[in-house]
């Protein structure tokens, strides 16, 4: 875990250092370049610490990161950390909701499809699952804006207001984006749960459970689901990363000032410190949530606890 986190920081660090061209050019405007001499460039380079070895630079950078200093934006000269502090809660709000809804809705749907295998209900749920992983979230967002925002005029089509300021407006604003983020997550949960449950329901211990006269509920919930959920839980980590990735698109479509939007803005204005900060923070969060998921195995699967 610590090792992986370390590699994450190295990847993020190198990502920006490997940029083609002199990193110092990031800090200078075109006008500066024409006016200043080579000596002045060298002084700036020295002040920024860019003349030291890559290793020393990395240690320096990681020390700053550890104290919460993610560098300075070249566009507005503010701290990247402040930008992220403002925007992270928004993405966590939307992404967290989508993640929870996808578990609450997707897993039971997958279980139903598996238990009622071959019926019309299974066909409907499976087709919806296949469709859900196919639809591009940005396109779905545009469609929803057209239908519910422009034609029906039921919901606002862009922006984000803090729920502490205006809870009702906030709820209206996040319905469509959260829906967009949820659809692919639900779909993958349905597909995973269904195939995993089908696998489990074929096992001998399920037949034993049936033949000793347990009720359907007990067979499915206690014996089937608990075993069937293990691979699903693993894949929830991947879903999480997919939701965060999707939020880049959804936040763009709905003009929500979250982390994804921040990364795209940073990219378009070549503000690499911002991009670096966003990627580092998101990578770390995904890692920690995956750690929690790994820990939840112990509860689901005693073989891990005692193994």
């Amino acid at each position: 875990m610590i090792l992986v986190l370390l590699i994450v920081t190295i990847i993020v660090f190198l990502m920006v250092r490997l940029l083609p061209g002199d990193p110092i050019l990031i800090y200078l405007t075109q006008q500066d370049l024409e006016e200043i001499t080579q000596e002045q460039v060298d002084i700036i380079r020295h002040n920024l610490g860019l003349d030291r070895s890559l290793f020393v630079q990395y240690i320096d950078w990681i020390g700053n990161v550890a104290t919460g200093d993610l560098g300075t934006s070249i566009i507005h000269r503010g701290k990247v950390g402040d930008d992220i502090k403002r925007r992270l809660p928004i993405t966590l709000h939307l992404g967290g909701l989508a993640f929870i809804i996808s578990i609450i809705v997707g897993i039971p749907m997958g279980v139903i499809a598996a238990v009622r295998r071959g019926t019309w209900l299974d066909s409907v749920l499976t087709s919806l699952g296949n469709l859900g992983i196919t639809i591009p979230v940005f396109w779905l967002g545009i469609l929803l804006i057209y239908a519910f925002g422009l034609k029906l005029d039921w919901l606002p089509i862009f922006g984000y207001t803090s729920p502490f300021k205006d809870f009702w407006l906030n709820t209206q604003q996040i319905i469509l984006p959260v829906f967009c983020l949820t659809i692919p997550a639900i779909a993958s949960a349905v597909r995973m749960t269904r195939s995993s449950m089908l696998e489990v329901m074929r096992q001998d211990y399920i037949r034993t459970a049936w033949s000793k006269g347990l009720r359907e509920r007990a067979v499915i919930m206690r014996h089937g689901l608990k075993n069937g959920l293990i691979p699903v839980v693993t894949l929830k980590g991947v879903t999480l990363a997919a939701i965060v990735g999707g939020s880049v698109l959804v936040e763009t479509v709905f003009s929500i000032p979250g982390m994804g939007r921040l990364a795209v803005e940073g990219l378009n204005s070549q503000d690499y410190a911002v991009v670096q900060g966003v990627i580092l923070v998101i990578g770390t969060i995904v890692l920690f949530i995956n750690l929690l998921i790994d820990l939840s195995y112990g509860w689901l699967d005693p073989r891990v606890r005692f193994g």
């Binding site: 990847i11 804006i145 880049v248 990627i279």
Partner: protein
Amino acid sequence: MSEKAERSVELIEVSPRVNELRRFLKVFLSRPVVVFGAIVILILLICAAFPEWIAPYDPIKQDLKNVLLQPNSEHLLGTDALGRDLLSRIIFGARTAVMVGVVALGIAAVSGMILGLTAGYFGGITYVIIMRFIDALMAFPVMLLALAIAALLGGGLINVMVAIGIGMMSGYARVMCGQAISVRENDYIMAARSSGASNIRIMFRHVLPNCFPPMIVLMTMMIGMTILFEAGLSFLGIGIKEPTVAWGSLVNDGYKYLLSYPLLSTAPGVAIIVVVYAFNMVGDGVRDAIDPRLRGTL
């Protein structure tokens, strides 16, 4: 005498392969939705190969007298803000989708396979270093990683392919590594080693071919996703620039005219959905035909 013996060996080898192919096709073609997917992919490939012949208009040539036409008999899907025929642009977009999809997939599969094979085959410290690196890569959402890599490399179609390829390689590395670990323990590997084969030779001649079935399944199942990522990146306007036509950027271009000309942004999206759905269904079909045991694990 020896020639005859060789020929008979050949005959024995050929027949089970033919059966294998027949069995593959039988399972593959048994579900109508898979056949539908295969037909869609065939049409897509034709569009990607010969868009000039199929598209009724030049996708780049502007016709400022006919801007923003609603669908009519001459322009089946209407025209965009610069008078370009939408249908022709969608047909030309197929080429970008196929190219990025195939090349990015190739980059992801080849690099992932080599890393996974090395890690799984050697084990020990090599395994720890490579797989922890892959774990770290998995912590970044593909979309965000591809975004950052595309920024790093600058625009251009090739860089988008590399970006998506690097973003997606971790899945292949993981599956490949698991496969290599189990194949490594077989007796024929030990036999190869004791007959003096080098590590490289054992890895590529003996381990790799025995790891192929799940890799092929994974690859066919991921094409759709690769095309979705390409669409997402081009929607954000990253990498693919005019005059290259991509479905994602068509959706984005049409977004501005959503209220009066909804078709401009919705029609390219339908193309994405149909194609990705077709690839996903064919992926499922290939998986069931090659190895149904993989159902649920991939």
